[in-house]
């Protein structure tokens, strides 16, 4: 049976380094992709990723064992990316900007090629989503968080999360026209 994150984190806080290894292996991929896909082009993703985990290690005593671990982990990762945005441009996170023209589907290709194209288009569309919408989408799809947990991570109400997700999904669907087959 898989040991819950919270139990592993408790063990780590008590000095069990092996518990952290398990916790890290479990989350390294999704956390990395969350940071990578939320970051702007040119940002040192590896450095942001390492920094986020360093913060987790340093703040381990501040984690409340009665609260789920995953939202706490992603809040730290999210804040690390937001800090990088702020230091790069000195502004707050944008709420929602117009989406640029979607990538046109490639016509006349077989199913596998179509799938590859769709995945590529999704990545392109995702990168062009406003940060708040992109964050909400990634926290749902990559981290598997609930609406309330996404609200905790990003510091907004559940209704705001719903609104951001709704817009994000609409933009993605619109841009992925032809990928339904």
């Amino acid at each position: 049976m898989t040991e819950p994150d919270e139990q592993l984190m408790m063990r780590y806080r008590e000095g069990d380094g092996a518990a952290f290894d398990t916790l890290y292996r479990r989350h390294r991929g999704p956390v990395f992709r969350y940071i990578q896909r939320l970051s702007h082009t040119g940002e040192d993703v590896e450095s942001l990723y390492q920094d986020a985990w360093m913060r987790v290690i340093r703040a381990r005593e501040q984690w409340d064992p009665t609260q789920p671990f995953r939202p706490w982990l992603y809040r730290i990762a999210h804040n690390r990316v937001v800090d990088a945005w702020r230091s790069a441009r000195g502004v707050e996170i944008a709420g929602g900007e117009a989406l640029d023209d979607a990538v046109e589907p490639s016509p006349g290709v077989d199913a596998m090629q179509l799938l590859r194209d769709c995945v590529e288009r999704l990545m392109g569309l995702l990168a062009k989503l406003p940060e708040a919408q992109r964050s909400a989408f990634l926290l749902k799809e990559e981290a598997g968080l609930t609406l309330a947990q996404i609200g905790e991570v990003t510091g907004v109400e559940r209704e705001t999360v719903k609104s951001r997700l709704r817009y994000a999904l609409k933009r993605l669907r619109d841009g992925l026209e032809g990928c339904d087959e």
Binding site: Y12, R13, E14, G15, D16, G17, F20, D21, Y24, R28, G29, F32, R33, Q36, E46, Y49, Q50, W53, M54, I57, R58, R60, L115, C118, V119, L122, M123, E141, E142, L147, K162, L165, R166, L169, L172, R173, L176, C179, D180
Partner: protein
């Protein structure tokens, strides 16, 4: 599908490249994580090491104080030994040797003053070269009584001589009086570990 959940979109997202951090990042994070908690385990290890060192040190010291097995400890200055407790034991040993009943007044006299006690023979076992086995039941009874006596009754009047303390401890051990030996050792450590600081 609802407005907030699109299974086809989720499925498509799952097919995006599953990038992962480089091995170097893994090493940096895991090293830091282990270092962060190694202090706790290190503290425990250091604690055990210190405890083991103390036990070994005390054991070794004890061996040195006791001398080689089978050799009775000899005090360099027997006359300087002035342990209050032996008064009863001296009497007991005398009784054991002579078979004569000692009068209570003799014991009382030995307890009268510190000066008297300083003149009293040193550790009775050393003084008479007798062992517990050689003493009769009366002696054993006297020794047994010492187990219930407060520690300060065993302390030396003149506390300054290390040799006197060591000889008294050795004598108590030889006599099988573990309670007296422990009392003497405790006082010895209090006196001389303090003076060493």
């Amino acid at each position: 599908m609802n407005e907030l959940h699109d299974p086809r979109l989720s499925d498509l997202y799952r097919r995006t490249p599953q990038q992962e951090p480089r091995g170097e990042s893994d090493r940096v994070v895991l090293d830091a994580a282990h270092r962060a908690v190694s202090g706790r385990q290190g503290f425990a290890v250091r604690g055990w090491a210190l405890a083991a060192t103390l036990v070994l040190g005390v054991g070794l010291g004890w061996q040195l104080l006791s001398g080689p097995p089978g050799v009775a400890p000899v005090s360099p200055q027997p006359a300087a030994l002035s342990v209050p407790a032996p008064a009863d034991q001296v009497e007991a040993v005398e009784r054991a040797k002579t078979g004569a009943a000692s009068t209570p007044s003799a014991a009382m006299k030995r307890r009268q003053s510190a000066a008297d006690m300083e003149l009293a023979p040193a550790d009775p076992v050393v003084q008479y070269g007798a062992s517990i086995d050689a003493a009769d039941g009366q002696l054993k009874e006297e020794v047994g009584k010492s187990k219930t006596r407060p520690c300060n009754e065993f302390w030396l009047v003149d506390e300054r001589s290390r040799e006197a303390w060591l000889a008294a401890i050795a004598g108590a051990l030889d006599a099988g009086e573990t309670h007296r030996a422990a009392c003497l050792q405790t006082r010895y450590q209090q006196l001389f570990s303090r003076s060493q600081r």
